[in-house]
Symmetry: C2
Subunit: 376 residues, 2 copies
Amino acid sequence: MSAFGYKVLATDGAARRGRLTTAHGDVETPAFMPVGTAATVKAMMPDSVAATGAHILLGNTYHLMLRPGAERIAELGGLHRFMDWSGPILTDSGGFQVMSLSKLRKLDETGVTFRSHIDGSAHHLTPERSMEIQKLLDADVTMAFDECTPFPAELDVAKASMRLSMRWAERSKVAFVPRPGYGLFGIVQGSVFPDLRLESASALTSIGFDGYAIGGLAVGEGQDAMFETLDVTTPALPQTHPRYLMGVGKPLDIVGAVQRGVDMFDCVMPTRSGRTAQAFTHRGTLNLRNARHADDPRPLDAACDCPACTRFSRAYLHHLIRCEEILGAMLLTWHNLRFYQMLMARLRAAIETGTLDETAAAIAVELAMGDIPPRG
Amino acid sequence: MSAFGYKVLATDGAARRGRLTTAHGDVETPAFMPVGTAATVKAMMPDSVAATGAHILLGNTYHLMLRPGAERIAELGGLHRFMDWSGPILTDSGGFQVMSLSKLRKLDETGVTFRSHIDGSAHHLTPERSMEIQKLLDADVTMAFDECTPFPAELDVAKASMRLSMRWAERSKVAFVPRPGYGLFGIVQGSVFPDLRLESASALTSIGFDGYAIGGLAVGEGQDAMFETLDVTTPALPQTHPRYLMGVGKPLDIVGAVQRGVDMFDCVMPTRSGRTAQAFTHRGTLNLRNARHADDPRPLDAACDCPACTRFSRAYLHHLIRCEEILGAMLLTWHNLRFYQMLMARLRAAIETGTLDETAAAIAVELAMGDIPPRG
């Protein structure tokens, strides 16, 4: 079993082209992790997810602890075997979803008491239990248990929340059982307050983690505030360790974050959009439900090599969506995930050749072009 | 382009092992046709449908004429290209679904006037228009336009309905434009009345078709009445032509019909069941929603080679269904279609070796065995 580790292979400004090594294989970074909430990337076969170019998936502790249960997954051989994904898996800590999805939650120093949004059952999630659950799931990357600070937050609230997360990070580190090939990431909090972000980064670095995540962004603060926060935060994190921007994001959010030294991303956007007729293309987003696609024989995105684009017309995709056919969600999800992976491959290649800024500018221009009219 | 045709390769009693040749390839018979109602076999990629062993699909004239429209599909290159299925396609005539799905329908000698169940738009479907639509769709096998006699029906009603269908069959034959590799099937009606079935078979044989379907069964008459009707009908059809039992059915319905000389089948059962947690296995049907599967590490069907059975546990499939995950429908549909195709392959092999009756008896015993208990 390889040791867990991260290696910088090339840099371009603040951006890094790297490789994360885990118990279940390597991840080329910058990397986008498709979200497999309930032990499935929605509407995708696992081998199709791999075919999009994904190296690593994200699983949700909150969802999996409630259904089917972490002990059950462990009994069945762990999350990789359960969902037939042989590559690396990162699990979140449960903190974010407890706050956004559960009912009757009560937070104190020990952790969070809440009721399941599914069946109302009572649960207590602590740093120690979160570590235990993620070990039961057999996550290659375990995330420290944190409170995702609501946005917007007053300075005092954000400070108290961040400091609680830092105490929980320390408890997470103590509770995490090291194993070769498995790593633990701390999560920087502090809302949009630079001093808090620096204090958080410093606290986590002192504890010492295998990687550092930036949490509490993409919660409504806007791209400018997100980038400003990254400008403050990433330089305060060790150059030697991977950096993960949680829950981000739109293609240009990812591009800007890579330019600011972020290595890993996850977001439900490509998968959720795929189930709501939204497609990402090299010339911006399209709503396939729109009647203007009904007679359009062209591929969804001529620059894409996925099955949705190489085997079918926009007219067909539109038809599937109008008929609420499952295949519509399957094809658009596949395309969107492939679009994201092509974006990451392009960013990795640009860093290797020292052309990231030009590439980022070109991507921004392309995405703003808008669709070519059907009979153009 | 090969001529349309059917060849008997082997027989075993009344059963035939044959080969149907069409413009888009051959079909080994007895064959099961997955239903691709709205230009998609629900929850399946076309290459996955092919991977189950299907040689030919069924498309629905009624659904496709309403959405996206036959002229639109023709403009986009025909149904094969539209849905990325390069093999043969059989389309029904629209008659059955007009009667079961449309609103405010009015039937007269010319055809059926009805309103769409989707948007209330008015349509008039006649033998001539049905032939035109099926040509626009580019169906390899076109079905004559008929009235599916309701069940139960009094003798007089069934007779009048059957005779109308025979007049429509004649008009269908006149309107059908022969092309190399494309064929037209007539449909025997007559409810469960032997004399009417014989009259219908005789009328159709006189007109002359490329194949003969048996319609109006699997509508509530029960397996005994279905088999009795087949016992009367198939001997009255030409030995030289393919026979298609429409809308059938359960595995043992198919086995019994093959023993009675039927070559082709279609049914929504494997696909619809796949979306409602029902799985066909070699030891009978299972409901994967049942809590007893929650911890079961075994494959759904140890005798099956599909992805659902080789890559996942019953516990995982149960989890997907409980979470209403699309992948649950995808995997169970795949499995059920594969189960049906394995059944057909087994029947074909049995006819070739002259062991159909023993095989049929063995299948009946297996299916009645019931599931092996989880810790048995």
